[in-house]
């Protein structure tokens, strides 16, 4: 029956090829879109976790803190020790942020100034990607500051100029002067205009001695949202070990907006692809229906010879299935080849890095696809085949043989 179904497909070669290519195109579109969405989600995840960590530890209730100090981790050393024991594989980074007014000689700007640890891997990456001019401010440097390029322009300051920081309501000195020692360049213009970094000791001296806003745990080997599941046990273990005085957050809590967007990406694309499969299915239905109509006499003969209704339905459905599976195979072959090419990275022509970064998207996409996404596309193709064949198959099975053989006699 498979041979019969396959040969019947090519009785009307052009019509079958059009339907087959339609299915191929939809499968190609589907897996490329799944791949793009997956890559975009993972790239946004990577950008987020690279900047602020895979896990964050805060003082409990920090989001609702009414003043600066009630949101701080004051037992930072103790927390670090617990983290080192509970999540030894993580790169741990302490960070303190303080709301402040930054002023040059002429202009000023309200923002959040920050200081943090710089573990070697994170520091090297930051310097390579973001330090545009001057030197990196870290360690015991209590007088240097790094500014985003656009922030420096907004304040009308250059390397070597002084910047005055006023941080009221904090617990340190509350005010300090720093020399601009580094200029930073970020793809995301929103990040660049608010980038002001001093060393951790400097900001603790300014705003909160020995305290931290948060601890960040970085897992550079975790690249995708799926892989992030592997560190869920660390989140649970840290929550248990640190107790109710702290909040341990995974990336979904760190950036709930991103989590919401990512959650919607794939379902949105799946629904879009389903719509295209329905459209392709209408074309397949037309092909199968016409093919069945043209062979009414032949089906009459087949039923005369003793074929049962379900056997006739099976013949028609098999033809539809073979057409869709062949189209799916073609679409997959092209799509997977393109994804393999795109896995080395590609850029959208016509989109600048700044534009993409402002939308929270990476400048380079690395395409990848999960096995379930391939199965989903093939599954949709199979469903298309079945639903497209349903009507014509029933029609063929219900043919009255004597009448059918008079049909074209």
């Amino acid at each position: 029956m498979i041979a019969l179904a396959w040969r019947n497909l090519w009785r009307q070669r052009r019509r079958s090829l059009i339907s087959l290519f339609a299915v191929a195109l939809v499968v190609l579109f589907a897996i490329l879109m799944y791949s793009m969405m997956g890559s975009m989600s993972n790239a946004m995840y990577q950008d987020l976790t690279k900047e602020v960590g895979n896990i964050q530890i805060h003082k409990a209730g920090y989001r609702d803190a009414q003043d600066f100090s009630s949101g701080l981790l004051t037992n930072a050393a103790q927390v670090r020790e617990t983290v080192a024991q509970t999540a030894p594989n993580a790169i741990v980074l302490g960070s303190l942020q303080a709301p402040a007014l930054l002023a040059g000689e002429v202009r000023s700007r309200g923002m959040v100034i920050q200081g943090q640890d710089w573990p070697d891997a994170i520091k090297a990456d930051f310097i390579a990607n973001n330090l545009a001019e001057g030197k990196f401010v870290e360690g015991d440097n209590l007088t240097g500051i790094m500014l985003g390029k656009s922030l420096a322009t907004a304040l009308d300051v250059n390397l070597g100029d002084d910047v005055y920081v006023y941080a009221p309501g904090t617990e340190g000195y509350g005010a300090a002067a720093y020399t601009v020692e580094g200029i930073l360049d970020f793809d995301d213009p929103n990040r660049e205009i608010y980038a002001a970094y001093v060393s951790l000791p400097a900001i603790q001296e300014l705003a909160a001695p020995d305290a931290l806003s948060r601890l960040e745990l970085h897992y550079p080997e975790i690249k995708t949202i799926e892989e992030d599941e592997l560190i869920a046990p660390d989140v649970a273990a840290l929550s248990a070990a640190l107790g109710s005085d702290t909040e341990v957050e995974a990336w979904q809590q760190i950036d709930p907006n991103l989590a919401s967007i990512v959650k919607v990406f794939m379902p949105m694309v799946v629904v879009e692809s389903l719509i295209f499969f329905i459209l392709a299915g209408l074309l397949v239905l037309n092909t199968v229906y016409l093919s069945t109509l043209e062979r009414i006499r032949e089906f009459g003969v087949i039923i005369s010879l003793g074929a049962k209704g379900r056997q006739v339905m099976g013949m028609v459905t098999l033809e539809s299935l073979l057409m869709c599976l062949t189209g799916a195979a073609l679409g997959l072959a092209i799509g997977l080849s393109l994804i393999a090419l795109g896995s080395n990275g590609f850029q959208f022509p016509g989109y600048s890095e700044e534009m993409l970064a402002s939308m929270g998207m990476p400048s380079v996409f690395y395409l990848s696809i999960e096995p379930w996404q391939v199965l989903l596309a093939v599954g949709f193709a199979v469903l298309t085949a079945f639903f497209a064949a349903l009507g014509p198959a029933r029609m063929a099975a219900n043919i009255e043989p004597a009448e059918a053989m008079r049909y074209t006699a």
Partner: protein
């Protein structure tokens, strides 16, 4: 032993406002091993009678018994099962499946029966050999002459080892010599293997070889003859 019993069979066709009585009360018995023709002019109802006893259509009234079992009231699936297990069909227009080879066409009914590929190809090949069509087993219908196609159709009917082969005007589209050859093969099957044949025909070539003729006219059986058939 009677294979078929037909009692007061009637068939009326409704085409728009026009009613046509194709059969007006036919009574008939066909026994195993017969080589019987239902003969009559065009429009006499012979094909209609063949279709009804083949289960391809439902009578308006009357009864049809095949091997003692009533078949005129069977549902679609039961009717298909009876045709598959008991009947073979040969049609005027051959009706081979154009994308299948001669062997695959001959094996088609066996495939519907669920026979394994190896077994059905062996049986189909044997049937083709009987009809002297085995050397053409890999040809498709459009590569065969009319007579060759009809022989493949007979092989298709024969391969499934039916109780009776119903043949509707099997020689109508064949020239004289080809028609005679086909009649020769079918006669041989009847005489050597005891295959029952029931023909619907008005071909005098075929009527010369049958051992019973049921004459039908205007939807009624008007007579029967038991001629001395010519040797095949």
């Amino acid at each position: 032993m009677s294979l078929y019993e037909v009692k007061d069979l009637k068939k009326t066709y409704q085409l728009g406002d026009v009613k046509t009585d194709a059969l007006r009360g036919v009574n008939l018995t066909i026994n195993e091993g017969e080589f019987t023709a239902i003969a009559g002019p065009s429009g006499s109802g012979k094909s209609t009678l063949l279709h009804l006893i083949g289960g391809l259509d439902k009578p308006s009234s009357g009864e049809i018994y095949l091997n003692g079992k009533r078949i005129d009231q069977l549902g679609k699936q039961e009717g298909a099962a009876v045709r598959l297990s008991t009947l073979g069909f040969v049609f005027q227009a051959y009706n081979l499946i154009p994308v299948l080879t001669a062997l695959e066409n001959a094996a088609f009914v066996l495939e519907l029966q669920g026979i394994s590929k190896k077994e059905r190809e062996a049986k189909a090949l044997s049937a083709l050999k009987t009809l002297e069509m085995d050397e053409f087993k890999d040809r498709r219908p459009n590569q065969l002459s009319g007579g060759q196609q009809q022989r493949v159709a007979v092989a298709r009917a024969l391969a499934a080892n039916p109780k009776v082969i119903l043949a509707d005007e099997p020689t109508a589209n064949l020239d004289s010599e080809t028609g005679q050859r086909l009649i020769h093969y079918m006669k041989k099957l009847n005489q050597e293997q005891g295959v029952t044949f029931v023909f619907s025909t008005h071909d005098p070539r075929l009527l010369e070889h049958v051992n019973r003729i049921v004459r039908i006219e205007d939807g009624r059986v008007i007579g029967e003859e038991h001629p001395q058939p010519l040797a095949a």
